[in-house]
């Protein structure tokens, strides 16, 4: 009897259920810890990916972290330092633990090494998983790779620190751009401060800019006044209900909608405009 109180006998049934609970508990704990870390291990939304990368979520799912793109980038034949004859550092880097990018995935930082937009785009066809999708940079008509179709990001100008906006002559970004006068053009404006000089303001055209970052690299200010952001961050979205009445093709959308319900229903549409506009500001 005394022995039994020391070590009570456990029935098979109880052992089964305790074991089950034990395993389930450890499993749930493991999933929670691991999933929590994995979620935090995802890249910063400011990460710049190689050309032809899938959208960030799909890219993270698909990339197997093999580094074939980065190897193709650094070992391309034209990537040679003219002075030493040695290869220059590659554009694409494989993220390490301290980078704000999921470990082992390729990214680039144009301030260090921009993308030189190789005509044969060596980094894309080597991708074994399809995380870099050649279709995204293939001209559907000719079936050939077209570096103009790359969309790695978008150049954004900060007019506060861009010295061209101050009236100082600088066209470093304009001249560095591989799509000269297409992705960045110079807008001439009168400088009212002097009355006799011109502003030559750089303007980026989002429909042409590939986000290669040569402009960011070339910028002369202490911290670049033109820089690349991922397009999801850099671009807004007007929404389907704005129609360009002066654009025949866009105007067509209105005709397509005739007969359908075109009224917007949201929280404020249940009230009359007089009511919600006169209610005053709420903070």
């Amino acid at each position: 009897m005394s022995q039994e109180t020391k070590k009570p006998r456990i029935s098979e049934r109880r052992r089964f259920f305790t074991d089950l609970a034990h395993h389930a508990g450890l499993g749930v704990m493991g999933v929670l810890l691991w999933a929590g870390y994995t979620e935090k291990a995802k890249s910063s939304p400011l990460t710049l990916r190689p050309p032809a990368a899938l959208g960030e979520n799909d890219f993270l799912k698909t990339c197997i972290k093999c580094g074939l793109c980065a190897e193709a980038c650094v070992n391309r034949p034209q990537n040679v330092d003219r002075e030493t004859g040695r290869p220059r550092p590659g554009t694409l880097k494989m993220a390490k633990a301290k980078d704000p990018v999921t470990i082992g995935t390729p990214f680039f930082n144009p301030r260090d090494v921009p993308c030189y937009m190789c005509e044969d785009i060596p980094c894309v066809p080597v991708c074994p998983t399809g995380a870099l999708d050649p279709a995204k940079v293939t001209d559907p008509k000719s079936g050939e790779l077209d570096f103009r179709m790359m969309r790695m990001g978008l150049a954004i100008v900060d007019p506060n620190s861009c010295i061209a906006f101050w009236g100082i002559q600088c066209d470093a970004c304009y001249r560095a751009c591989p799509l000269l006068d297409e992705a960045i053009s110079l807008e001439y404006d009168r400088n009212p401060r002097t009355g006799k000089h011109a502003f030559l303001k750089p303007v980026v055209h989002a429909d042409v800019c590939t986000g290669c970052g040569l402009c960011e690299r070339a910028c002369v200010t202490e911290k670049p006044a033109i820089f690349i952001l991922p397009r999801e961050i850099a671009l807004g979205k007007a929404g389907a209900h704005y129609v360009k009445g002066w654009d025949k093709k866009d105007q067509q959308r209105v005709e397509e909608r005739i007969g359908k319900d075109v009224t917007t229903h949201d929280k404020s549409s249940s009230e009359s405009p007089e009511d919600y506009l006169n209610r005053g500001l709420e903070f």
Partner: protein, 268 residues
């Protein structure tokens, strides 16, 4: 020290180092012998080789995959499944060098005899596989690939080390002070996948009990001692999946009681 006592150990180190060197050369000099890394490589610029576990995790995230990795994963799975067994772990994986060093130091420093025992089931690796796949599906990111010390060490050699190298030190200390053969022999889910893959492979270690003098040197060095249950009792092949075919037991045996053998499925 006799050559026959270190033969497989030295062969393994040569293979491991040569593979790392070829990977490094693939990036640094652009050699087209072995490019990429252990998650996916291109052999001679033609043949894709992929980690079947990484591919499985990517499937769990719901992504669709290119043909090259599928062919690569099939080649690897077939090679180890039919020929090599769990040889990836002891002949290819660079972490093996780290954990073998920890195990060697453990023996030399007598840590086994003074430490408090921490117990982890050797089946933890199989639970880790399941958890890794669940987490991959939940988060949309291949879960083991963001913490794998194997690819961190492999990429470190190829592309340069970062702070992730700290994880390798942690695993070294874990194996040295916490659990004997803790990482490779208990936890690593990739080892679990290769155990499952290689269970029916042709190359096995085989035991001849008539020659055995019960010196138990083999059990001292074996990283997966549970597979050597037949020592001194029965003459048979090591059949358990977790044997890594490292050949250390064959090396240390002075009585010709252990050797490599091609499993014969026909005579049974």
């Amino acid at each position: 020290m006799k050559w026959s006592n270190v033969k497989y150990l030295i062969l393994r180190r040569i293979v491991q180092a040569a593979l790392l060197f070829l990977y490094f050369a693939g990036n640094y000099w652009g050699w087209k012998v072995l490019q990429g890394d252990l998650s996916t490589s291109m052999l001679l610029d033609k043949v894709p080789l992929s980690d079947p576990f990484a591919v499985l995790q990517i499937f769990a995230t719901g992504a669709t995959l290119g043909v090259n990795v599928l062919i690569g994963a099939a080649i690897i799975a077939l090679f180890y499944g039919i020929v090599g067994g769990r040889a990836f772990c002891s002949w290819v994986c660079p972490v093996n060098m780290v954990t073998d060093l920890a195990a060697w130091l453990r023996r030399k420093l007598w840590i086994d005899r003074i430490e408090r025992k921490v117990w982890i089931t050797r089946n933890a690796r199989y639970y880790m596989i399941v958890i890794a796949l669940i987490v991959s599906a939940l988060t949309g990111l291949a879960a083991f690939e963001v913490i794998s010390p194997i690819t961190i060490l492999n990429r470190g050699v190829i592309f340069g080390f970062g702070a992730g190298a700290g994880l390798l030190l942690a695993i070294f200390l874990f194996d040295l002070f916490v659990v004997k053969n803790g990482w490779c022999g208990h936890i690593c889910p990739l080892g679990g996948v290769h155990s499952i893959l290689g269970k029916y492979s042709l190359i096995r270690v085989t035991h001849t009990s008539e020659n055995c003098t019960l010196c138990m040197k083999c059990k001292e060095v074996c990283p997966e001692v549970q597979v050597l249950g037949m020592i001194g009792k029965r003459s048979e092949d090591v059949a358990k999946a977790e044997c890594t075919n490292c050949g250390r037991c064959v090396d240390v045996c002075d009585d010709d009681a252990l050797g490599f053998h091609i499993r014969n499925y026909l005579s049974k």
